[in-house]
Symmetry: C2
Subunit: 427 residues, 2 copies
Amino acid sequence: MKNMFAVKGNIIFTKEFGVYEVLENGFIVVEDKYVKGVYSKLGKEYDNIKIIDYGNSIIIPGFVDIHLHAPQFANLGLGLDKELMPWLESYTFPEEAKYSNITYAKKVYSRLIKELWKFGTTRACVFATIHKNSSKLLMDMFHESGLGAFVGKVNMDRNSPDYLVETTEASLFDTEEILKEYSSKYSLVKPIITPRFVPTCSTKLLKGLGVLAEKYKVPVQSHLSENIGEISFVKELHPEAKNYASIYNDAGLFGNTQTIMAHCVLVDDNEIDLMVKNKVFVAHCANSNSNLTSGIAPVRKFINKGIPVGLASDVSGGHSLSMMDVIVSSAQVSNLKYIESDRNDKPLNTAELFYLATKGGGKFFGKVGSFEEGYEFDALVIDDSDLPIFKALSIEERLQKFIYTGDDRNIKERYVAGDNIREPKFI
Amino acid sequence: MKNMFAVKGNIIFTKEFGVYEVLENGFIVVEDKYVKGVYSKLGKEYDNIKIIDYGNSIIIPGFVDIHLHAPQFANLGLGLDKELMPWLESYTFPEEAKYSNITYAKKVYSRLIKELWKFGTTRACVFATIHKNSSKLLMDMFHESGLGAFVGKVNMDRNSPDYLVETTEASLFDTEEILKEYSSKYSLVKPIITPRFVPTCSTKLLKGLGVLAEKYKVPVQSHLSENIGEISFVKELHPEAKNYASIYNDAGLFGNTQTIMAHCVLVDDNEIDLMVKNKVFVAHCANSNSNLTSGIAPVRKFINKGIPVGLASDVSGGHSLSMMDVIVSSAQVSNLKYIESDRNDKPLNTAELFYLATKGGGKFFGKVGSFEEGYEFDALVIDDSDLPIFKALSIEERLQKFIYTGDDRNIKERYVAGDNIREPKFI
Ligand SMILES: [Zn+2]
Ligand SMILES: [Zn+2]
């Protein structure tokens, strides 16, 4: 019986949006890296497998963060007093320029990956910078850590500062080099096409990236309709375009291969229809959308239309890597959106947001974010014994209490694709 | 030189709203429980005093939380899927009923006070329950801990469940007993008149409480215009009233003695004028207002009008006792309010919110929340050396980074009124 084991504990996950599956003192059997099944008692066929008993702890799928900027981790919690466009110029671009220096990149990326590990993020979709070498480094380091990630070298060939810009040709050339080298290099870490956003990418660059996405069958991530200032700039740059989304779409970067668009705060109905048609993922960045005064994305509307949605920290527009924090913030803004929108779009409850933070975003990685059979076994073991609890709580309530009042100290173990992942120690 | 000492470190506080005073490697001289002065070098007159050197740490005023419900701490992070009125009935009232049991009260209150200590809250305005004995217990325990607090036995004589209601007479009698016994008992812990809110207090009860407030010269705390459902209920109960605030005002409970009103999300212009005239404090409860789908209070407007404002966790409508969390949440909703309000009310920046979380709320306690001469020395020593910092930061930036990304682990020492307060150990 090769590579088979079981973990035992209070299992909770969401197969369907907003519906908890709960198994008190249950077992998850893992074969190779996949979930074989979830059982209240182990059948005879599993008599000889190793059982790891986590006692009264809670076992949940690992958190999936589908949008964050690795270099901006150095700015975490700083400079949140501006809106998107001046924020990029004052804080973000100067920081990102530093990643031409591989030593500096290694210093920040080491700490970032440790913190992701700490907060129980087992999979992430990550923007690096325009720099080829530190982008490769980041992929190597994610691989070394054992966490799963899509990592994108960023593309920017216009409206960018002199110290952080590429030629169209170099941008495409470096991107293709990474695709060739990394597409099959690692099983849990993959490259992703990453035009920063329309303002910094010429049409020629976008079309070139669309060709690469198709040629190498790789996914795409970018930003869409985050902030008023950004949107008017896009309109100015592309008076001919039907809307912001269509510019990506015309370049083959809007669902031709699997695509994530971050924010989508201010998308119009035509853009939403295109997202539905092309199955474009939304990365919902509640903290960032509040911090940078962008607004509240219409997440309930996206979900009702069938658009796939995941949650995201959007560091460092977001100030916290903790997906528990991101869930709470997403709940809060969905409540505020509900009031704002004449009480049409029902607020998102904890079970719904938990789904988005696990299986919702996990879908972008394949079968990830659930304990259904055939899913990669990504899991967190939560010990809530030191939280202030004064009465018997259901597993659902314990999960909610952990999300709202716990922190990284309550996360005792992390599994990714069947492996127990220890704190990364980079040399 | 009796009872004089100095602390040394990177000092930052706000004398004026939104304006940091910063002294790198400075000294705060403390005489008895008061700040004597803040100096970059110590004068000869202080040659022989004890100096406690906190090295590169940051020294800030203690946090002041001007609205929270002690018994609801047991529900922290639970049941946030309802709006105010059903939330009270489903979760809050059943929990509060348990505090007729003094043993249970002691268990929860011990942990609550430890957690307040942990998060660096040095002063708090607290609702207990209707129960006289556990309200007294809470005052005794706050005194024992060394933290400062106004603690109110709650009054409720109508529209309350059978298991959590008083007669008007008993409510007034028990309140007066506490006022007699506790008004001068402790220096840092004081009683406060605490009608829950208009829906649960008859006019006779309110007027009786107004008489007691005046007779014993004690302050008042209650709730005002938090949620749509609550406000329509108040209108139904008092068709004769000019507005919600006037009901408190007519009973002598709206600034006749120093008064805090929590929430004030939906106050109208007449109510705002009355708050200005009567110098009524607003307890701004950003987390709670989002969690219970109440809305966003117009804090910038209050401040522009000269209304005193402090920040509050409002546990357990709020899910976190951390005033760092409350500052972040307050920043986020003020950004969202700005967008909502056609960009009139400028968002609150970190320095402004830091002022509200220290000196703003501290004013309710007298000279508290600043390091100006004559202020009671409440302070936190912040060690940010393990936060991910990759470049030289100013003290202001380090404070911001602590607020946005740090937690209780970064708080190394807590002072209240000149005393270094150790973790409370209740027997
Ligand atoms: Zn982003
Ligand atoms: Zn309250």
